[in-house]
């Protein structure tokens, strides 16, 4: 199209309608024109705003922001922090790019197309909330509270999750951080020592670090890395069991190149060796453990040789490890792990870790497992209500017992999915996804799609258009961690042997939200009003929630702000075994529930011929799958090469940088390709990729299709029987090159 008039000529003839403008003339407090200087100024002169608490991952370091004219230029660690100090990791630094991500959700949107292939239309908050409220209320009216299932994740999902559990009354809540991550660890330790362990090993002051996996360095949590490095600097020995030469194996004194799935056998052999050779802490066992005799009998079969064969490692190496632990006990750090949902036999592995710690007397002593004595701050949320267990999917009503007896809080994910898809034992008809991306988190993506297709209504709340958001009917844009109040971050100094201090801080916004993003209190309360629960609303605003919470510790938002965002006070000595502490080496309750009372090895299926086991882990610049659209982080590590053993590569004719795809042992193919990384640092029977790449959602313009989505290849459901949590390393793959499928040599 070309216009046949010049602009000047046109102006002499036309007359047009005008509209109102929001630009207003103000008396100029002129800042002058900033000439775009060739040299950037750096941020030292920018305004410092305190109170930031990171949520790029869930370690939650304390931040300050450097703000210039309303623009957040940079994030830095808060110098007052006794946790991370001025340090923050790659993801923490890249938070500004999440804040200003062009693809970030901006307005409420309605899908006027199909689920999975949406046509988005921007709508008003009123329209969006009315729809959510009426649809969810409709589900409750017709099907009961249990007709709603919830997939929450992160600090902002806590309040809404409590609303649906407590005020509305559904049990059908599946938190990824439990069911696809650390839930198994928590309940296994609860069954052994009565509490969840966190990662509370006193690494700076230990003599030996014992890792099963724990690829610290690829997994980055700032103060945890500080503890780890301090320990190494102080001369601690490091033992790492991993099929791959991970970031922590790279610093290890002993690398146990263990066969995947067999870690429990390794630990049982260590424990058996300690028992048989009287190298365990007899005094501690007598004073603080229960069931030693049954335990010792149960693990007796695990000789070094038996484990060596099962684990494909030298028997001398297991002995070396056991001796090193015994020689340095009790000041040894048995790391409980973090993401432990590996094979479906993980509860027993976590039990082994907990019992091993007990055998060595490594609880509450320097260098062992020591929970810090941190400050108490009360939480503020919806009031708890008892909704009974009639609709608890984890209850076997005939036997009046749980299906998964040691489940973490919530309902095992596949009980929800199966119920939603089949309609039995009852209909689940609405789904609320809040900050979680089930599509790239939960095994068997097709099953997740089936769940969504069975719903009458799906709503998603998020900051980014992750893969799951394509399945929403209503999509709501949330204020990010940099734009809202919420999380109370508290704790102690990271080195327990230093001066005892406690800190309390609360997340405060560093900038105002842009567009029409809202916080979770607003969204949840508005929905609650429309669902008839207005009377139960505990707080009107997010600031009110934080102030009430801080008040339980005689603090307030205002007080914290005046203290540079962090309140510090004297702490308490955490060392010393509590009188009532007990390590249940043999646990009758587990036995009564029909599972082994002593830690027990459960073998996993071996590789089908021609396949390698698919292993995944963290990349240090990404968090789960949620940061893949971040311009800076994507630039740092743009894709996820697949690690292939060098001898296997040679046999297959693959060289570094070759492009390959995947096909798994259930016939599922990867949608995209990646490159090969040839290395001697991985076993021949497995391949490895960083998790969180290969988004299928074209709305993620940076992350879409970059690398391979490992979750797409995790189709087999391996459910840990004691807990109902997913194991995700039980799929096997072949590589494909130029359309040809390559068999992995035995």
């Amino acid at each position: 199209m070309a216009f046949n008039l010049t602009r000047r000529k046109f102006l002499q003839t036309a007359s047009l309608a005008a509209a109102s403008v929001p630009l207003s003339k103000v008396v100029s407090a002129s800042t002058g024109v900033t000439k775009s200087a060739l040299d950037t100024t750096g941020t030292a002169g920018d305004k410092t705003v305190v109170g930031g608490i990171c949520e790029m991952c869930f370690w939650r370091c304390q931040l300050v922001g450097k703000v210039r004219d309303g623009r957040l230029m940079k994030l830095e660690g808060n110098p007052k922090s006794i946790d991370n100090g001025t340090a923050i990791c790659a993801r923490g630094n890249a938070g500004v790019k999440l804040l200003y991500d062009v693809d970030r959700l901006k307005y409420p949107m309605k899908n006027v197309g199909k689920r999975g292939a949406p046509k988005w239309k921007r709508i008003s908050w009123k329209e969006a909330l009315d729809e959510c409220g009426s649809k969810l209320k409709g589900t409750v009216d017709q099907y009961g509270a249990q007709g709603i299932c919830v997939f929450p994740h992160g600090a902002s999902a806590k309040y809404p999750m409590h609303y649906f559990e407590r005020a509305v009354g559904t049990h059908n809540v599946s938190e990824a951080s439990f069911f696809q991550c650390r839930g198994i660890r928590d309940t296994a330790y609860v069954q052994t020592i009565g509490k969840a362990p966190g990662e509370k090993v006193d690494m700076p002051n230990t003599k030996v670090l014992f890792f099963i996996g724990d690829h610290l360095g690829e997994n980055v949590h700032v103060s945890h890395i500080k503890q780890y490095i301090q320990g190494l600097q102080n001369g601690a020995k490091l033992i790492v069991a991993d099929p791959r030469f991970s970031a922590s194996a790279a610093k290890a004194d002993i690398w146990v190149q263990i066969k995947p799935g067999t870690d429990t056998a390794y630990m049982l052999a260590i424990m058996n060796y300690l028992v048989q050779n009287n190298k365990y802490d007899k005094a501690f066992v007598e004073d603080y453990t229960d069931g030693f005799e049954e335990f010792a009998a149960a693990i007796k079969e695990w000789t070094l040789e038996k484990a060596a064969k099962e684990c494909d490692i030298p028997a001398e190496q297991i002995k070396e490890v056991a001796d090193m632990l015994a020689d340095n006990a009790p000041n040894v750090a048995i790391h409980p792990g973090r993401h432990v949902s590996w094979h479906g036999n993980d509860f027993q592995r976590e039990r082994s870790l907990a019992c091993l710690t007990g055998l060595l007397g490594a609880y509450y002593v320097k260098g062992g497992w020591v929970p810090p004595k941190g400050p108490k701050v009360g939480g503020v949320s919806w009031a708890k209500e008892d909704h009974g267990h009639e609709f608890d999917l984890n209850m076997n009503h005939h036997e009046d017992e749980k299906i998964y007896p040691f489940n973490p809080p919530g309902t095992p994910t596949d009980l929800i999915r199966d119920c939603a898809i089949s309609g039995k034992p009852y209909p689940i008809k609405s789904c609320v996804v809040w900050g979680q991306n089930p599509m790239q988190t939960i095994p068997n993506q097709q099953k997740m799609k089936d769940l969504f297709n069975a719903m009458d209504f799906v709503m998603c709340v998020d900051v980014m258009p992750t893969d799951v958001t394509a399945w929403a009917d209503i999509l709501l844009p949330e204020a990010s961690y940099l734009e809202r109040y919420d999380y109370i971050k508290k704790g102690t100094q990271w080195d327990l042997s230093k001066e005892h201090q406690q800190y309390i801080s609360a997340r405060m916004p560093l900038v105002e939200p842009m567009f029409e993003r809202k916080d979770q209190i607003y969204i949840c309360n508005e929905i609650a009003k429309r669902m008839g629960h207005e009377a139960k609303i505990p707080v009107k605003t997010i600031e009110e929630m934080v102030d009430k919470s801080l008040a339980t510790a005689n603090l307030s938002i205002e007080k914290l702000r005046a203290e540079d965002g962090i309140h510090i006070r004297p702490g308490k000595d955490p060392y010393g075994v509590p009188e009532d502490f007990e390590v249940r080496l043999f646990n009758d309750d587990i036995e009564d529930a029909g599972y082994p009372g002593a830690p027990t090895y459960v073998a996993v299926p071996d590789n089908p011929k021609g396949f390698a086991r698919l292993l995944y882990g963290r990349a240090p610049v990404h968090t789960f799958n949620r940061s893949q659209n971040n311009v800076w982080l994507n630039n740092a590590m743009p894709d996820n090469p697949v690690w292939v053993n060098d001898e296997v590569a040679a046999t297959l004719g693959l060289i570094d940088g070759d492009t390959v795809g995947f096909i798994n042992d259930e016939g599922v193919e990867s949608a995209t390709t990646t490159t090969v990384k040839v290395t001697a640092g991985i076993r021949k029977d497995c391949v490895y990729m960083y998790h969180g790449y290969g988004s299928a959602n074209p709305l993620m313009t940076i992350g879409v299709g970059a690398g391979v989505d490992d979750t797409s290849l995790i189709t087999r459901l391996a459910i840990d029987p004691e807990t109902g949590c997913h194991g995700m390393r039980n799929n096997f793959v072949k590589l494909t090159k130029n359309g040809k499928v390559l068999d992995i040599p035995a």
Partner: protein, 269 residues
């Protein structure tokens, strides 16, 4: 004084925070970088399996191969020692080695954007940003400045401040009591070029197998100074032409090139 940076690979966990903090501090646009982290291994070495990292940056060399290649007109510049207040005046082109703190800096206003300095650097530490081209240049070179503006205010370089493992140590290599000097005494060494002595002032320390792997994979060679000098010479020659109005010369060229590209495409179909 000679500022230097120590990278302690025993501490470094390869988290890449240093590269992102630098990018944020100085608004370095993707795809360029002032510093970088490469991931090495796992590789079998003479001292066992090794996996480590190469956090790299400008080495602010003792004898920087880049400085002499700059074809911009030399001018008098007066430098002031931050500590003693002493001054010194020297002739410099658009890039120089600071006589007092030993850092290598750039004057973007006088930079021609020819890239000769970037080509001359064995480490690839400089880049030319074509977005900053103006009437007198094809772009502007950019590089690590050892965070000079921050250091002058008593702050740490951004990469040092953010390092989560305490693996980056910055200070004066000529001060025998400084932390960096202690590392030098322990054997920290720079990635010296093959058969050369340019004296890089970023130095690496770590386990034998890790240092071995790093030096095996990343010891650079001096650039082919022939092509570097040719580029600098060409840039000098076109300086007067560059100052003329750009829409006549450059646009015409671009248009002609575009047409040429199209017809080539046709031929290749």
């Amino acid at each position: 004084m000679q500022y230097g940076m120590i990278i302690d690979l025993e501490r470094c966990v390869g988290c890449h925070a240093c590269t992102i903090a630098c990018r944020a501090e100085w608004e370095v646009p993707v795809p360029y970088q002032r510093n970088w982290v490469k991931r090495l291994g796992p590789t079998m070495t003479a001292d066992g399996m090794a996996s480590t990292y190469y956090p790299g940056l400008c080495n602010h060399c003792d004898k920087p191969p880049c400085v002499d290649e700059c074809p911009a007109d030399a001018v008098d510049m007066t430098f002031t020692d931050a500590k003693s207040g002493k001054t010194k005046t020297m002739q410099v082109a658009a890039t120089w080695k600071d006589p007092f703190d030993g850092s290598v800096q750039v004057d973007k206003d006088r930079c021609l954007g020819c890239g000769a300095c970037a080509d001359a650097c064995p480490y690839g530490a400089r880049y030319v940003n074509p977005e900053l081209a103006d009437d007198d240049s094809e772009g502007k070179v950019d590089k690590c400045t050892f965070c000079k503006p921050r250091v002058e205010q008593g702050l740490e370089p951004a990469c040092v401040q953010t390092c989560i493992a305490g693996a980056r140590i910055f200070g004066d290599l000529t001060d025998p009591n400084s932390a960096v000097s202690q590392y030098v005494k322990k054997g920290a060494k720079g990635l010296e070029v093959k058969d050369g002595h340019i004296g890089p002032n970023a130095r690496y320390y770590g386990k034998k197998r890790d240092i071995g792997l790093l030096f095996a994979d990343y010891t650079p060679e001096l650039a082919d100074m022939g092509s570097v000098k040719r580029r600098a010479m060409m840039a000098s020659m076109v300086k007067p032409a560059m100052r003329k109005a750009k829409d006549i010369g450059l646009l015409g060229l671009a248009g002609a090139m575009l047409v040429k590209g199209l017809s080539e495409d046709k031929d290749n179909k």
